[in-house]
Symmetry: C2
Subunit: 473 residues, 2 copies
């Protein structure tokens, strides 16, 4: 339980960052106090928008003195309520910390403040002739701090890894208000415990990330995008393996989509004709990045897969417009499902080799339990990560469907665990799954997590009510 804040806290915050950057009116606070899916809401004591790292450190020290909890927030695009207050905290919005501090093209590294949007970082990299490969639907408003705190993934993980693997160094304001200057721009550094990996994916429960040094890559010189018809998920997994064997790590994306998912897109999104004449049960969007030799190599590899019957049809985009149209089909699945009505979503991962069995088993259990249920399955098969979403049967009413969510979640998450998978592949735990995870992790692992929380945030004031089943000791 938080002590009543000292009456001095608000005036002290105003003295530190200026009255314009301390919001207390309900109308001003409203945009920060609810997550964008509208599932979580809490009223913070105030919203503070520091403009420098030293101001962030000052805010955190004042909160420490007053024994008031802190919620860090970036673009407020999280999907699990991890940046939404539970009530009574100081919400620290990082959006004013949005400078690109340094771009070092020869070192393939960029140093940015955590309030930069992902798109801002992509653009700064492009301007220097480099690629920052993280790509997400929300990149125009999601911030780097949020991407780091949730270890964001997306469609390019197959080749470039998640946010964690793209990070070289961090600058973090610790719960005490001290600053850890860990902005190293090194590929190799073995001088003690790797602290940055503790803060990445910690959802703001150990400290407040203020800046990061991130990896850059050469920009792809040539890309080839293709749309394939496959028999089933097992076939998709074999096709991926075959393409990686013949074309190695030129495979930069491999997205599987069910006919149900693409049917919703065709129904709800204008101007989105499917690339293939026939409508196979499963389709794949595959992207290759490499040299111009791909213009010959990709058709050869796909032809070989057609000859052995592993793919039944294929189209290669003949220009950028066609490639973009293919990507739009994939990216519109979530929007189409939203237009169709309420949904129950699962962001899960299993080993790639077990994906097909998982989908078959989950489909069977769910359709037995909920006749007429529509399974909208699509996603990053190359990472073993699908969005296994559910839309209600055409006859069921919304209330009954929503009420069935806990049973559906239990079926999916139990099965994911049986297959050695994760109940949160790329969205984090936040408030949504913080209790759910206790069912699936061993007490040994939960005890270690709590020991680390106590070690780095002994008073439990960093983003309480998130990630760990119990955050306040």
């Amino acid at each position: 339980v938080t002590n009543p804040p000292t009456p001095d806290l608000l005036p002290a915050l105003i003295r530190l960052v200026g009255a314009a950057q301390v919001l207390v009116e309900p109308a001003d606070i409203a945009p920060f106090s609810t997550d964008w899916r509208g599932r979580y809401s809490g009223t913070p004591l105030c919203v503070v928008r520091p403009g420098t790292v030293d101001e962030v450190a000052g805010v955190v020290r004042l909160c420490a003195q007053a024994d008031v909890a802190i919620v860090p927030q970036g673009g407020n695009t999280g999907l699990c309520g991890g940046a939404t207050p539970i009530g009574g905290e100081v919400l620290v919005s990082l959006v004013r910390l949005n400078r690109i501090r340094d771009v070092d093209a020869l070192n393939n590294a960029i140093t940015v403040e955590s309030g930069c949007t992902l798109q801002q970082v992509q653009e700064a990299a492009a301007k220097a002739g480099r690629l920052f490969p993280l790509a997400l639907a929300s990149e125009g408003s999601a911030t780097i701090g949020g991407n780091l705190s949730t270890n964001a993934g997306g469609v390019q993980v197959l080749r470039y890894g998640t946010m964690r693997e793209l990070t070289l160094g961090l600058e973090v304001v610790l719960p005490s208000g001290e600053i850890w200057h860990g902005l190293r721009a090194l590929r190799k550094d073995n001088t003690g415990y790797d602290l940055k990996h503790l803060f990445i994916g910690a959802e703001g429960t150990l400290g407040l990330i203020t800046a990061a040094t991130l990896k850059l890559y050469p920009r792809p010189r040539y890309q080839s995008t293709a749309w394939l018809a496959v028999r089933d998920p097992a076939s998709a997994v074999r096709v991926l393996a075959a393409l990686r064997e013949s074309l190695d790590n030129t495979v930069t994306a491999f997205e599987l989509m069910s006919d149900v998912a693409l049917g919703l897109v065709a129904q709800h999104i204008d101007g989105a004709p499917l690339p293939l004449q026939q409508a196979p049960a499963w389709q794949v969007l595959v992207e290759f990045s490499g040299s111009a030799a791909l213009a010959d190599e990709v058709p050869q590899a796909l032809m070989a897969l057609r000859e052995i019957g592993e793919i039944s049809d294929a189209v290669i985009a003949s220009n950028d417009t066609q490639a973009q149209a293919m990507w739009r089909l994939r990216e519109n699945i979530s929007e189409a499902q939203k237009r169709e009505g309420v949904s129950i979503k699962h962001d899960i991962s299993v080993p790639v080799s077990r994906m097909a069995d998982f989908i078959a088993r989950a489909d069977a259990q769910l359709t037995q339990q909920f006749p007429g249920l529509r399974i909208v399955c699509f996603g990053h098969v190359g990472d073993g990560n699908v969005h296994y979403n559910l839309s209600k049967s055409l006859t069921q009413d919304n209330a009954a469907f929503i009420k069935s969510a806990p049973i559906a979640n239990r079926i999916v998450h139990d099965l994911v665990t049986e297959f050695g998978g994760s109940i949160s592949a790329e969205h984090g735990l936040g408030q949504l799954k913080r209790d759910e995870i206790a069912r699936y992790k061993s007490s040994v692992e939960l005890d270690m997590q709590r020991a680390i929380k106590r070690a780095l945030d002994p008073t439990g004031r960093m983003n309480p009510g998130k990630l760990l089943p119990s955050c306040r000791h």
Copy 2:
């Protein structure tokens, strides 16, 4: 200070693992009690060789009950004394834990016990048609557990990353004797703090790694190896950037070597003619992995660099034998330097973009301080990691040279830090640099390291005297 061990400990260990696996005789213990460079030595209470994970856990529990410290040891090939006892510990040798537990080619993952040698893992991957890309000179005897505990690097980091980036999951026996079953084979998993990254690079100070799930990759279909003459390190860095821009991530190795380094190879190693007629001051070994199109693309890219004067000469290996001969020149540098006499070695990293300035500044300061000193500089420029080694002047005697090591180290390490670098890029701290690091890390960072040590090893019994300036509280 360690309490006197209970008299029951040795008999209890013998009951657990059998008398043949508990070594106490000086002659039996000797191979374990000195590091392979012969710089550190300590007498353990005994050497225990458990054969299963449950036996490891049992050994750790018995040591906990007796309040006796533990030193984990793999192949004993470490370069910093991290696996050598300081005296009085139970040395737990993991070499009998050497099963390949699972190879999952479709998931590109392999699960191995920590006593497997790196070579054993490479071979198991190859047998399944896959590549495990970590490659080190000591791979025939270095174990996976040691590779993990030191976050090993090597020559393929440019494309595939260090051991840390190759690891999906771990199984660890904690200081309490509990087992953390963290062998996940997932590319995406965001369900709390990433514990595996704490144990990787921890040099056995937080727990005892018993198994790991590691990433596999497609095997390269086509490789091209070339030997280049460049003017200076700055030119080498620009050549690397240009090659990565034109040939993207087909660049899998980029090794810079000074004429001094290659001169020692020519002098001491039989049958090692240098590939280029002229002897330029700096030479580069570069390896490309990709499709057969490289046969055209590599010569074109090198020609373009010759035309702008960035490289003055180049040879492309025309077959595997020539490629292997080039690699042998690079790999024989350490051996040649050893035959030349005593040396002072620095395993350091700086941002790639600052490598040339670092080398120039370090060269100038060292040759001013030690006239006639020979600087043997070579290594992984693509990772910003060179082995900046020193051989004495031809007239100096060994004793005087060795005595100058602290001054040379101070010059190099201070300069590395000024350039934002690391004083241990890929070898770890062990006993060698555990005190040195305190000069270069902030108290904020050292305090966090100590807080984590206390949180996970509260009685300080895991590998005392390594990594942290103070390990016993």
